[in-house]
């Protein structure tokens, strides 16, 4: 992997000014992903007081629409000056933030929206995300993505002594946060024995180690710092961005216990001029319970190999030492397939003091880390309030 690069992106060169979820969970029959994107966009524009006519940059990704940029532009009746439909899995929207920042900084657009929608629960996961046949993996009948993450977890357990109980602690912490979030799918408490005793799917993962399968989507609105200041809500500045791609298939992952988050985090911290100890709120893409453990290590919140120990005893749960995945995460809040946009929305809400019972008091900085594929693409976004600029 390469070291940090000087990407040319300007710290606080753009701000997130609007953020909103679409309908979540199980949406009304007949709604499609473009409906949910459009719903998220109108809500996010209302959130900041801008209108569709102001939007001249469009970034979106969906597994259910091959040319979502075309479908969404037609649907909304817009012809954006800047369009980007980069799709790299669940982290796509963190990549979009960096691309929107670049476009705004270069004057390619003035108001950019990033949108996502999925109806995978309503139509079934198989239909929502058609698997590609890989002659070197498909014959073994992997459950993808869970088999791939389970293989990575097996290595972490072997090398560092990480236990199933430690994995379960991640699911329990997510559930405790979800119980503070009215929008969360899961409404009942969860214990470590319940996680361990749930239906086994891909050892070491039971169904409770694995993210939800829900519908959902949303949008965020970005603009220049100058324009951001006059809008309805306090701007949330993009302080740092970093990206890394290491592989596509798990059998080609260079090191199963070291993710591209090491590189993406390093770049984002360098751009932001911050380090892990400066971050108040940590939002990590938790498709599986191993994910936060890997990302806490690779993003510098604990040394490599100590992630399992770090999450024990409610350390990342409400009231713990480090607030992680305050919305309840993909494990207990919502996971429509490419969850990264909802990670960004929660980080924005925390920095605006809008998170209600789960609000981290006085939060000034947040990290929103996206993961895509089978630990394949990693993208880190660091956000801050006006006080950090």
């Amino acid at each position: 992997m390469n070291g940090p690069t000087n990407s040319g992106l300007r710290r606080a060169g753009a701000a997130i000014v609007g953020a909103a979820e679409s309908d979540l969970g199980e949406v009304a029959e007949g709604l499609n992903p473009i409906d949910l994107m459009a719903q998220g966009i109108t809500r996010a524009l209302d959130d900041c007081g801008l209108a569709l006519k102001d939007v001249d940059g469009l970034l979106c990704a969906a597994t259910q629409s091959r040319t979502s940029g075309l479908s969404l532009s037609e649907y909304l009746g817009i012809s954006p000056a800047y369009i980007d439909t980069t799709i790299l899995g669940g982290s796509s929207f963190m990549f979009h933030v960096a691309h929107a920042l670049a476009a705004l900084q270069l004057g390619l657009c003035q108001v950019a929206v990033i949108a996502y929608g999925s109806t995978q629960r309503s139509i079934g996961r198989r239909q929502a995300s058609v698997r590609e046949v890989n002659p070197y993996e498909t014959p073994y009948r992997p459950f993808l993505p869970s088999t791939a993450y389970a293989l990575a977890a097996s290595r972490h357990m072997h090398e560092f002594g990480t236990t199933r109980e430690q994995l379960a602690a991640v699911a329990v912490a997510a559930r405790e946060w979800a119980l503070l979030n009215p929008a969360a799918w899961e409404k009942k408490p969860l214990t470590i024995p319940e996680v361990l005793g749930a239906r086994m799917v891909s050892y070491p993962f039971t169904v409770r180690d694995i993210c939800l399968v829900t519908d959902g989507g949303g949008a965020i609105v970005l603009t220049t710092p100058e324009r951001a200041r006059g809008l309805k809500k306090p701007p949330v500045y993009v302080l740092g961005c970093g990206e890394a791609i290491t592989h596509a298939n798990i059998s080609s992952m260079p090191d199963l216990t070291l993710t591209g988050a090491l590189q993406s985090g390093r770049e984002a911290y360098a751009m932001a001029g911050l380090e892990a100890s400066d971050i108040d709120v940590v939002e990590l893409y938790d498709a599986f319970t191993i994910n936060p453990i890997l990302f806490l290590e690779d993003l510098g919140f604990c040394p490599k190999g100590e992630g399992g120990h770090f999450v024990e005893g409610g350390h990342i749960a409400p009231g713990g030492g480090l607030p992680v995945n305050t919305n309840g995460g993909g494990l207990s809040y919502c996971h429509p397939g490419m969850y990264g946009l909802l990670v960004l929305i929660e980080a924005v809400r925390q920095l605006r003091d809008e998170a209600g019972a789960r609000q981290i008091k006085g939060a000034e900085t947040a990290i929103a880390h996206g993961n895509g594929g089978v630990l394949s693409s990693q993208s880190t976004v660091i956000l801050g309030t006006g006080a950090t600029v």
Binding site: T147, L151, A153, H158, V201, Y203, S251, S252
Partner: protein, 125 residues
């Protein structure tokens, strides 16, 4: 190009051989087979036949809603390449990281192509 990398690989499997590519430019094995070496960019890739010996690098047990649980593993072959496989002739939960294994061809029958599976040979690494 008369034969794809996949076709060459498959023809070796049909003969009971596990084939991989060697990149002289990179000085290392390449797997899965392809047209370009990902370590050097070279298109000069040579075919070699592996000894079939390897070590379990990572392992999981898949539990289908119906049917028996089965193993899926990543195998590090002694020649320096990694591939997905299944370790057979042993309880799937007994497949441990470090277990030494040997390749054999699995022929699913029908139209499905043969693919490599592995069996324990005793010992660990």
């Amino acid at each position: 190009m008369s034969q794809s990398p996949l076709a060459v690989y498959q023809a070796h499997l049909d003969k009971g051989e596990l084939a991989y590519q060697w990149s002289p430019a990179a000085g290392r094995a390449v797997f899965y087979p392809r047209l370009v070496c990902p370590y050097s960019g070279s298109t000069a890739l040579e075919w070699r036949v592996a000894s079939g010996l390897g070590t379990v690098h990572a392992t999981t047990v898949t539990h289908p809603v119906q049917g028996e649980p089965y193993n899926i593993a990543l195998i590090d072959c002694d020649e320096g390449f990694r591939l997905m496989g299944r370790v057979e002739d042993v309880d799937p939960m007994a497949v441990k990281i470090g277990l030494r294994v040997r390749f054999r061809v699995h022929k699913p029958g029908g139209d499905e192509p043969a693919y490599p599976v592995f069996v324990p040979v005793g010992g660990t690494r």
